[in-house]
Symmetry: C2
Subunit: 216 residues, 2 copies
């Protein structure tokens, strides 16, 4: 029952609209380019799509954009259009507005005009990729706070065929074992007699300092 | 001691290079545009930067790109240049090549020429944003497999001031409580007598089915 509008049907906007639609939500898609509007309809990305210039408040109002709970302003590269659109949508009364930025400066401007949340995909994905490249033994990371994380790691060679009881992860590493995988499916809170297998993954929680001491 | 090269100094490439440098790694930065090469040097994003055309194998070889452990091809929009560069780098013997795609088709082509990993930031971030918008009670999610996750959620109103023992999360919801936050810092494995506070966050692990039953 939450209603969404996406303004700007580039790759980011289309991905947002498509994911929301597939989950059963109503998504109103808007773009100044009629080809892009036609494309989302023919690609079944959305059921409602309008061509309009989002820098024009009257056009947004008339299309029903101001009635939405959440509006995503997915105009990345045209900074002026993106800022004006975000201002229009906040002034039109939309409670939650997310906007895509194309630079640090663009991000600051979006905050100034009232964006509730700003995303900068190229930058965020670049930083995340770099992090994952420097710790290849860490398959995935969930940061709880600056000092503590949950990580999924490949079972280190020296843990191969050792039982959870043998390993004494809490005493040796200060970490709690949360789950172990077998063929891609995880068992939460495995029995302490279970033996870890090289090639499978384990999920542990603890301080980053302790995680870094794992022999991965 | 791992050595990296980034080809293409757009926003994504710069974010990768900058994150790697800040962690103390050597990053060789390459772009055909001399302004962008000069920019990474003056912005202190990298210590080594060269102007060259990455579609020319001889130029890559001579700059030392083929000696790197990991090369990131961060040329998004010029599909032909991106494909040729990726082919050159794999043929030059680089063990791990990550490439940025600008479309599904681009992604397929990159895999065909040997990219070890392909990222599509605009698409991936768009899908992730849509997911987070549909479950605003879920602050963050770490998917273990299709059926099980670890989630960070705001403490639901009806859990306010209840102790962990009172709540019986395992019996009522089939979930294990891993951590609770207080002013943004997490306590792992909190004492069962600790009372949950509205406005703080809790981290639980369990099946997606059980997570969806939380009153958030
Ligand atoms: N005033 C406007 N009103 C409505 N739509 C607009 C307006 N200005 C630009 N757009 C649309 O916004 C869309 C996205 O813009 P642009 O391609 O610059 O963003 P992008 O961030 O590079 O896209 P991507 O998501 O592919 O990275 C385009 O389809 C464009 O037509
Ligand atoms: N043949 C080439 N050799 C070296 N660099 C190249 C070549 N072709 C393009 N580049 C560089 O790749 C960089 C990134 O290209 P482009 O701007 O298309 O990518 P992008 O994916 O849109 O960038 P962003 O990361 O900002 O989203 C540019 O700085 C460009 O100069």
């Amino acid at each position: 029952n939450k209603q969404f509008a996406v303004i700007g049907l580039g790759r980011f906007g289309r991905a947002v609209a498509s994911t929301l639609s597939r989950q059963g939500y109503d998504v109103l898609c808007v773009d100044s380019d009629e080809n892009r509007v036609a494309q989302v309809l023919s690609d079944n990305i959305a059921t409602h799509a309008r061509q309009l210039d989002s820098t024009q408040p009257a056009a947004l109002k008339e299309a029903g954009v101001f009635e939405q709970d959440t509006v995503i302003v997915a105009i990345g590269n045209y900074v002026q259009e993106s800022i004006i659109t975000t201002l229009n949508v906040k002034e039109g009364g939309v409670p939650h507005v997310v906007a895509k930025a194309s630079s640090e400066v663009h991000m600051k401007l979006l905050k100034k005009v009232g964006a509730d949340h700003v995303v900068f995909p190229e930058h965020e994905c670049g930083c995340a990729l770099a992090q994952s490249l420097t710790r290849p033994g860490i398959l995935d990371r969930f940061e709880l706070d600056p000092d503590n994380s949950i990580v999924e790691v490949l079972v280190p060679d020296q843990f191969n065929d050792k039982s959870i009881t043998d390993l004494q992860l809490r005493n040796s590493y200060g970490l709690n074992l949360l789950a172990v995988s077998r063929d891609g499916k995880f068992e939460i809170n495995p029995d302490p007699s279970v033996r870890l297998q090289k090639g499978s993954a384990m999920v542990v929680i603890g301080s980053n300092q302790d995680i870094n001491r794992l022999p991965i």
